[in-house]
Symmetry: C2
Subunit: 99 residues, 2 copies
């Protein structure tokens, strides 16, 4: 498995719009076992995204999907930057599903 | 929803044992929507734990379960410390289930 944990910073006032875009793009991502979008209750502009994929290749493939590329294009202008990022190797747990 | 993202450091040589304990304790956690244990491919001692609960109260209640308390007692001697920690408010995604 392949995992990503990352903090994204929205342009002030645009966090809800950015979240909507992030969630829209997740309908059809082969190999995605978990994808959770969360807000940081301590920072009005921060979003945490945690992802689990069956492989790094599946994650890379998802980025080429037209729907995902369209979402990235719409999100880019309202992303102010990125915070902490980690690549992980998930080994187990609860709530890992193949949608 | 209530989320936790955290990095745990195992005593050198004990990461696999610590992971096994972390995964054993997750069989019966009411309100747990996602619980993923991952290793950090860049640090032989590091474990990432990401959790989503239906409420902060459910998370707190889980810590009182005998099975979880037993797991904590067994894990404590082989936990060297903690790294980055974040409390989040999940808002949506894929792979959030009520087991």
């Amino acid at each position: 498995m392949y995992g990503l944990i990352g903090k994204m910073l929205a342009v002030p006032g645009e966090r809800d719009t950015l979240i909507a875009i992030l969630l829209e793009g997740t309908g059809d991502m082969s190999g995605c076992l978990s994808y959770v979008v969360a807000i940081d209750p301590a920072d009005d502009n921060a979003i945490w995204i945690t992802e689990v994929w069956d492989s790094e290749a599946s994650h890379a493939a998802s980025l080429t999907l037209p729907a995902v590329q369209a979402a990235i294009a719409r999100a880019r202008p309202i992303i102010a930057g990125f915070g902490d990022q980690a690549v992980t190797t998930p080994v187990g747990g609860v709530g890992l599903i193949a949608p």
